[in-house]
Subunit: 145 residues, 2 copies
DNA sequence: CAGGATCCCCCAAGATACTG
DNA sequence: CAGTATCTTGGGGGATCCTG
């Protein structure tokens, strides 16, 4: 990812790509979202998110801290504990992320339907018999539900 | 990524994760964005986007087609050409993506500032001399500008 | 419980070369 | 120019063990 200068204002802009890079990471948006309601301890985060290992969570949080989106503080009352929370900057990211959440709720079914339709060619499709492209039927799927 | 059922409505919802998975890919959002103004041919896409190889572009487009976000058609006037465009469903994704673009323009500088600040500890920081955590100073950065 | 250190796997993405 | 086929690699992410 090396930020070429083109004529397109959005695609060429470093900051735009930077925002995408923030998203591009598997756990970044999920963790940010999990912090939306307030500071949380790692254990809470892990059980709220589900499917994330302790190591990866730590890495993700450190990355987010590095980018100024997350704070780490050890509450004075229980010095052994740790709490992660959103910075003001991180909080501003919730709006765009929320937009995606809303989109998912609205159109998620359509995506899944499209995926299924793509798998089963509906049999109404007359394909040149010798030329069946034989799409590997994998590596297209984004996730393995 | 295996979709655990927790109490959190958003994190547990398969469709929400699905939307994140759509974003999580490096080139998906960029390509979608590049198609925002109308159908484009692969060459155009490559020069508009910049830094994407022919192979990866093809893969990305196929993936997006698989998810019902992009159409591929060969225009009747020039049967040798190919054009990719957004489906109605794909078009709906532009809104959330746009939200991120807007965020990037507004807060991109702050992120970069935070990164710099994290690199240079500003010298005002009194760190326990023997305990310098020696953070690897890499693998935190999302991109290598 | 927090989180560092290690080892390992796998796949997205790059480079290159070839077909239509 | 569009797309495929190989080969290769970097690094994200899982598993496991070990410390404070």
């Amino acid at each position: 990812m090396w930020y070429v200068t083109t004529t397109d204002a959005f695609l060429a802009d470093c900051r735009a790509r930077l925002a995408f890079d923030l998203l591009t990471n598997t756990w970044n948006p999920v963790v940010l979202w999990a912090l939306r309601e307030g500071p949380r301890r790692p254990v809470e985060l892990r059980e709220r998110i589900g499917g994330i290992s302790s190591k990866v969570l730590t890495e993700t949080l450190r990355r987010l801290r590095y980018n100024g989106l997350v704070t780490r503080r050890t509450p004075p009352d229980t010095p052994s504990a740790v709490e992660y929370g959103l910075t003001p900057l991180g909080r501003t990211l919730l709006t765009p992320i929320d937009a995606f959440g809303a989109w998912a709720f609205e159109h998620g079914d359509e995506v899944m339907a499209a995926q299924e339709a793509a798998c089963r060619p509906t049999a109404a499709e007359h394909h040149s018999p010798s030329h069946s492209p034989a799409t590997p039927a994998s590596s297209l799927r984004q996730n393995q539900a």
